[in-house]
C-alpha cells in the first residue's frame, strides 16, 4: 500500500546530514510508491534539497534564523509541511533537535511518537515501531492509536539510498518568534575525525583506573591512524572527569557503528552497548572474562589493559 512519509531533515555544513540520508533510505523502503517528503530548514536548504536522494518532494525555507535549532520555530515549519502534505508517518532523527521535536510535534498533532526506534514497518496498514527499552535490556514494539505515526530513529539504523532528489520544492514560511533565546554558542573545536565517521573507535571505561589511561589509548589510536581511528568513552569515564563528555558512547551519548570497536576496561552495560552494538567487530580488553561485554564481543582479550595495550601497539607497529 502506498504510504506518505515525511522526513524531518537536518543540515550539516549545507548538506543533508548522514542521519537525514538514512531516514530517507528508511522512508523509501516504507513508502512503497507513496510520497517521500523532506523538510529542510536554514540557510542553503533549497540548494541542499537535490542531495536528498529518495525524496519526491522537499519543503524548504532558506531563512538563516532556522540555522541554530529552536524548537518553537522548527515546530511551526514542520506543522506547516504536514498541513501541505498528507503524511501517514513522520520520521525524525534521534538527535538533540529530534529528541525535542518528536514529543512536541506529537502533542501538537494530537498523536504519539515512539522515540529512538531501530525499526519501523508498515504491517498491512498498521505501523509497528521497535525500540530498545530498559537501557537496551529489552526490545519493545509499539503500535499507534492515532495518526500520523511519528518515530524518532536511532542513527545508523538504516542505510541511505542513491538516486534522484525531490522533483518538487515547496517553500515554507520563515522562522518567526521563539520563546527561547540563544545567549551564546560554543561550537566544539572541529579537530580530527568525528566519532560517528571513524572506522575504528577505541573506547575507555572505568577500568582504565585513571585519566592517563586515555593517553595510552590515544597511542593506540595514533598507531591505527588518526585518519580512521578515534577515542570514545563510557559514561563512567566521563562522569569521573577523565575525558570530554563529547566522547561518551551510549544511550545518552553518541551512537557509532564502526568496522571495529575496541572496548578497554568497559563492562558492557546495556546503556553503553546501545551506542556501539552496531559495530561490525567488537573487541573487549578486560580483566574479567565474565564481563557482560563478552556477550557482545567477537574477540575477548583477558588481562590488564596496561600490559595488553602496549603490546598491541607494538604488534601493530611491528607488522
Amino acid at each position: 500500500m502506498p504510504r506518505n512519509v515525511l522526513v524531518v531533515g537536518e543540515l550539516n555544513d549545507g548538506a543533508p546530514s548522514a542521519t537525514t540520508r538514512e531516514l530517507l533510505g528508511a522512508a523509501c523502503g516504507i513508502a512503497a510508491s507513496g510520497e517521500v517528503g523532506v523538510v529542510l530548514l536554514g540557510a542553503g536548504a533549497s540548494a541542499a534539497a537535490p542531495a536528498c536522494a529518495g525524496a519526491t518532494r522537499a519543503y524548504t525555507s532558506d531563512d538563516a534564523e532556522y540555522d541554530a535549532f529552536r524548537g518553537d520555530q522548527w515546530l511551526r515549519a514542520i506543522v506547516a509541511a504536514l498541513d501541505l502534505g498528507d503524511a501517514d508517518l513522520v520520521l525524525i532523527a534521534q538527535s538533540t533537535a529530534g529528541r525535542e521535536l518528536g514529543p512536541r510535534l506529537a502533542q501538537r498533532r494530537g498523536t504519539a511518537v515512539a522515540m529512538d526506534c531501530t525499526q519501523v514497518v508498515d504491517d498491512g496498514g498498521t505501523w509497528r515501531a521497535t525500540r530498545p527499552a530498559y537501557g537496551g535490556n529489552a526490545i519493545a514494539t509499539y503500535t499507534f492509536a492515532t495518526r500520523p505515526a511519528i518515530a524518532t530513529v536511532r542513527p545508523k539504523s538504516f542505510a541511505a539510498v542513491e538516486g534522484d532528489g525531490p522533483a518538487t520544492i515547496t517553500a515554507l514560511p520563515g522562522a518567526g518568534e521563539s520563546r527561547t533565546r540563544i545567549v551564546s554558542r560554543e561550537p566544539a573545536a572541529a579537530e580530527g575525525l568525528r566519532l560517528e565517521d571513524a572506522r575504528v573507535v577505541v573506547s575507555g571505561g572505568r577500568g582504565l583506573g585513571a585519566a592517563d589511561g586515555f593517553a595510552l589509548l590515544q597511542q593506540l589510536v595514533d598507531t591505527i591512524g588518526r585518519d580512521r581511528a578515534v577515542l570514545g568513552a563510557s559514561r563512567a569515564a566521563v562522569d569521573l572527569g577523565w575525558c570530554a563528555q563529547s566522547m561518551q558512547v551510549g544511550l545518552t551519548g553518541r551512537v557509532v557503528a564502526p568496522d571495529l570497536y575496541i572496548a578497554v576496561g568497559i563492562s558492557g552495560a546495556s546503556q553503553h552497548m546501545s551506542g556501539c552494538s552496531g559495530a561490525r567487530t567488537i573487541i573487549a580488553i578486560n580483566r574479567d572474562a565474565d564481563a557482560s561485554i563478552m556477550d557482545f564481543a567477537r574477540y575477548g582479550v583477558i588481562g590488564d589493559y596496561k600490559q595488553i595495550v602496549p603490546e598491541l601497539i607494538a604488534a601493530l607497529r611491528g607488522g
Binding site: F69, G71, T96, E100, P103, R104, A106, Q107, R108, T111, A112, V113, D116, Y134, G135, N137, A138, I139, A140, Y142, T143, F144, A145, T146, R179, T180, R181, I182, V183, S184, R185, E186, A188, A190, I224, R235, D239, Q245, L251, T252, L260, A284, A289, S292, D295, F296, A297, R298, Y299, G300, V301, G303, D304, I308, E311, L312, A314, A315, L316, G319
Partner: protein, 267 residues
C-alpha cells in the same frame, strides 16, 4: 519561585542483564528479587537542579510530584530528604498502563492545581523506558517554553538560563518563566541525604490526588487514553559467541589478536 520536580519510581536500571526478566504474558518487567525500586536517576538530578536554584536564593518552595503506585511515595520521600518541601502522589487506577501523553496530562493537571508554579524540572528521560517525552509534552500541554537536556540551570530575572550540549558543542539559552526544564546527567551528582534529613522528610506533607481531584476524565487517562500501545516486550538477542584470544603473555595475546584481525581484514 515555586519549583516542581517530576520524579518517577522505576526498577533499578543498573540491574545486570543476567537478572533482567520479562513476563511475556503481560509485557511487563519483573523486578529482580532483592533489588528495590529506585528513584529514576535523572529525576534525582532534576531535584538537584531545583535545589541549586532554591539555594541560589530565587526559590522559595519545591514540590515533588510522582505518578505511580502507593510505593512511589518512597521516591517522593527521597526528594523530600534531599531538601524539597512538599510532595504530591498522583495515584488512581485510572492512571495505570498509560503512555507518555496520559502521564503528562495528569502531571499538567496537578501543576495547574498547584497554581503558582514557575519552573518544572523533569529528568531528560525515565531510566526504565528511556522515552524522554513527558517533560516536553507537559510543556506543550501547559503552553510553556521548554529548555531540554540542561547541563546547568540558573534563575535569571524573569526566567531561567540553561546550558546544554548540542551536537559537538554547547549553547546557553534563556526562556521566560513559567517554563519546563529537562535535566541531563552532566548537571552533576544528586546530593545524598543524611539521616537527620531523612528523619525530617518523614514529617513533610505528601498529598494524594486522583483523577477526580484533578478534574480529569478517566476515559482520557491510563490504558483508555493511550495513543502509543505497547504490543510486545522481549529480551534482545545477543551475539554470544565471543572468542577469547589465547596466549601465555600479553605479547602473545596481542600478536594473536593482530594476526586474527588481519586475517579477518578488519585491520
Amino acid at each position: 519561585m515555586h519549583l516542581v520536580v517530576c520524579a518517577k519510581q522505576i526498577p533499578d536500571p543498573e540491574t545486570p542483564a543476567s537478572a533482567f526478566r520479562i513476563d511475556a504474558a503481560t509485557n511487563r518487567v519483573v523486578p529482580a528479587p532483592g533489588l528495590p525500586l529506585v528513584l529514576s536517576q535523572f529525576d534525582g538530578i532534576a531535584a538537584e537542579a531545583a535545589l541549586r536554584i532554591k539555594e541560589g536564593g530565587t526559590g522559595h518552595k519545591i514540590t515533588v510530584i510522582s505518578l505511580g503506585e502507593e510505593q512511589a511515595a518512597a521516591a517522593i520521600k527521597q526528594v523530600l530528604a534531599m531538601g524539597a518541601d512538599e510532595g504530591v502522589l498522583l495515584r488512581d487506577a485510572a492512571f495505570e498502563d498509560g503512555d507518555s501523553h496520559t502521564t503528562a496530562t495528569a502531571l499538567a493537571a496537578a501543576i495547574r492545581k498547584l497554581g503558582d508554579v514557575d519552573v518544572v524540572c523533569c529528568g531528560r528521560q525515565a531510566a526504565d523506558w528511556d522515552m524522554g517525552q513527558v517533560g516536553l509534552i507537559l510543556a506543550e500541554l501547559l503552553d510553556w517554553p521548554v529548555a531540554p537536556l540542561a547541563q546547568s540551570v540558573e534563575a535569571v530575572a524573569g526566567g531561567v538560563r540553561v546550558r546544554r550540549g548540542v551536537g559537538d558543542g554547547f549553547e546557553t539559552i534563556e526562556t521566560s518563566t513559567p517554563a519546563v526544564v529537562t535535566v541531563s546527567n552532566e548537571l552533576g551528582t544528586p546530593r545524598y541525604p543524611r539521616l537527620p534529613q531523612i528523619m525530617a522528610a518523614a514529617k513533610k506533607p505528601i498529598v494524594t490526588w486522583g483523577a477526580t481531584d484533578l478534574g480529569l476524565d478517566p476515559a482520557k487517562l491510563g490504558a483508555a487514553g493511550r495513543r502509543l500501545v505497547l504490543e510486545r516486550l522481549a529480551l534482545p538477542t545477543k551475539g554470544g559467541n565471543v572468542r577469547l584470544i589465547e596466549g601465555d603473555t600479553p605479547a602473545e595475546q596481542a600478536a594473536a589478536l593482530v594476526a586474527q584481525l588481519r586475517a579477518d581484514r578488519v585491520l
